[in-house]
Amino acid sequence: MKKMMTYSEGIREGMSAAMRKDPDVVLFGEDVGMFGGCFGVSAGMFDEFGPERVRDTPISESAIIGCAVGAASTGLRPIAEIMMMDFLTVAMDQMCNNAAKLRFMTGGALHFPMVIRTAGGAGVNAAAQHSQSLEAWVTHVPGLKMVFPSNAQDAYGLMLSAVADDNPVVYEEHKAMLAMESEVDLDEGPIPLGVGKVVRPGSDVTIVAVGNMVHQALAAAETLEKDGIDCEIIDPRTLYPFDFDMVANSIDKTHKAIVVSEEVKRGGYMGEISAQISENLFDSLDAPVVRIGALNTPVPFSPALEPIYLPNAEDIVKAVRSQG
């Protein structure tokens, strides 16, 4: 049954479905309870699942993730929320040294089925400590998986898979997309981790875009269509494991690639993807890969500066044209 749903509702439906199915799935974090989460994503879940399974925590991010690690290792499947992706910084140790590594370090004696939800991204004038996109940090850590949905259907389906996965999965929610509506079919169920999606088929250039940038890429493709340039847009949806085959197949056809994300460009995960493309598809490329990211600066507050900081459709159009 199809219906219109916001991105935010897609996330919530995913969590709720998982919690209905398995009593060991619990949600905790700052203000996720009666308040419904800082952005309202978990609104109503406290009422449905009660105070035992939807729990407010003190402002203690290390404890939140550490708690998820301990809970996961002994039988729960926690969904832990870190309110803003920027605050992963105060929980990096638990996330990267414990959640990610302990399965390996204990030779498989323990395992950690857990989801870390966190709101990333800029565009709401929240300044440099509430707007970051830190995909590169997460994807660099062996033992972590990471998903980043760009619409409500994916938000729903990826949440189901993330909760069902036996490994720690970081689930990024873009705060500027929360209210974005799109059609969802809840019967479609889980979307397997590691499977990308061709959001727009095309033959002239491959654009790999993640999160909110998928929408910028779609806008760019419309503009370029008028020039007679036919863009293929791939949304990997899962950042790790990454569906490189889908990208490679596309480039075999287009011979050109643009990669776009909202991260600060220097050291962003799209650099990794660009490197993989150039290294592995060297003979197939007709032009250098172009990477598009945010300026290499902290995220500025001012409404006059933030749009300049962010990559957008126009940048993508320019990049495609530059490849000739």
């Binding site: 203000d31 003190p58 991010e61 709401v124 400590q129 460009k265 290499n296 001012s302 409404p303």
Partner: protein, 328 residues
């Protein structure tokens, strides 16, 4: 209580300035002129005003996401503050920081900060600097009740205690961390009890009574200035608004809100001034009028100011690298 009339006037002036600034910010946010997140200090004015009345210009403060009051009390310029809230080039941070990041190095304001608990650890460094430069300055570190459960509260108070740093830790216990009441984020009633864990004094005062705040913090500041180390001062107060503008704060019990509104620090103070302090209603009104004019001027300044140029977006990342950061 009040040492003298000038002092009372100054205290009231500061409180009124904060109140007026915040009320304007509230309205301007509602009108869509101020973007982003705005956390108002309405109801907590006595804390910053009382504490900072003991400080010298060369003393330091660190602040929080709810920093306007601290910055005004430490002498921050209303025009530059308001312009920053608007994201204008003339703002304290040239529009790059916004409400949560105002700093003024020339007045010892080592910044509001958007990370809960950040100020606590930064204050230890300010304290260390004072210690090593052997001056008699102090650093006041403001923070909320919710932040006392954060990592840095613990690490910083312990470090300050062990190194005997000249810091006064001021907890503004306004009863909530966002929607979470104190009773659900910690099992203790008095945050000041946590001083025991660090072997330093902990004291509690009525944070809506500016005289009580002034006196209690005066002693702690004196201790710090004399090299006797840090103190944890807890001021009990109340956040009259939601956590940020836009939060309807339905989690606050109505009776609680009403009871606290009756204890409004500005009402309390102006009443005291006319009832007991020897001020005429006209004298009080004169201050109010002065402040109104100041804030109106600040708003006008902000509105008339230009937005930052695109070029400025790549400045101030490094002291020496500019063009290279433009690449995207």
């Amino acid at each position: 209580m009040a040492d003298n009339k000038d002092m009372v006037k100054d205290l009231y002036l500061t409180m009124r300035r904060i109140r007026e600034f915040e009320t304007n910010a509230m309205n301007l946010f509602a009108e869509g002129k101020i973007p982003g997140f705005v956390h108002l200090y309405l109801g907590e004015e006595a804390v910053a005003s009382g504490v900072c009345s003991n400080l010298r210009e060369d003393d330091y403060i660190t602040s929080t996401h709810r920093g306007h009051g601290h910055i005004i009390a430490k002498g921050g310029d209303l025009k530059f503050m308001m312009a920053e809230l608007f994201g204008k080039a003339t703002g304290y941070c040239k529009g790059k920081g916004g409400s949560m990041h105002i700093a003024d190095g020339t007045r010892g304001i080592i910044g509001a900060n958007g990370i809960v608990g950040a100020g606590q650890s930064i204050s230890t460094g300010v304290g260390l600097q004072i210690l090593l430069h052997k001056t008699d300055q102090v650093c006041v570190c403001f923070f909320g009740d919710g932040s006392t459960n954060q990592a840095t509260f613990h690490e910083s108070l312990n470090l300050a205690a062990v190194w005997n740093l000249p810091i006064v830790f001021v907890c503004e216990n306004n009863g909530y961390g966002i929607s979470n009441p104190q009773s659900r984020h910690q099992k203790i009633k008095d945050v000041a009890d946590r001083a025991v864990a660090y072997g330093i004094p902990g004291v509690v005062c009525d944070g809506n009574d500016v005289f009580a705040v002034r006196e209690t913090s005066a002693e702690a500041i004196k201790r710090a200035r004399e090299g006797k180390g840090p103190t944890l001062v807890e001021c009990k107060t109340y956040r009259q608004r939601g956590h940020f503008e836009g939060d309807p704060a339905i989690y606050k019990p109505k009776e609680e809100q009403e009871a606290w509104l009756k204890k409004d620090p500005l009402d309390k103070m102006s009443k005291w001034m006319t009832d007991e302090g020897g001020f005429s209603a006209a004298e009080v009104k004169a201050i109010d009028d002065q402040v109104k004019a100041e804030v109106a001027e600040a708003v006008k300044f902000a509105e008339d100011s230009p937005y930052p140029t695109p070029e400025s977006g790549v400045e101030d990342v490094y002291s020496d690298i500019v063009e290279e950061v433009r690449d995207r």
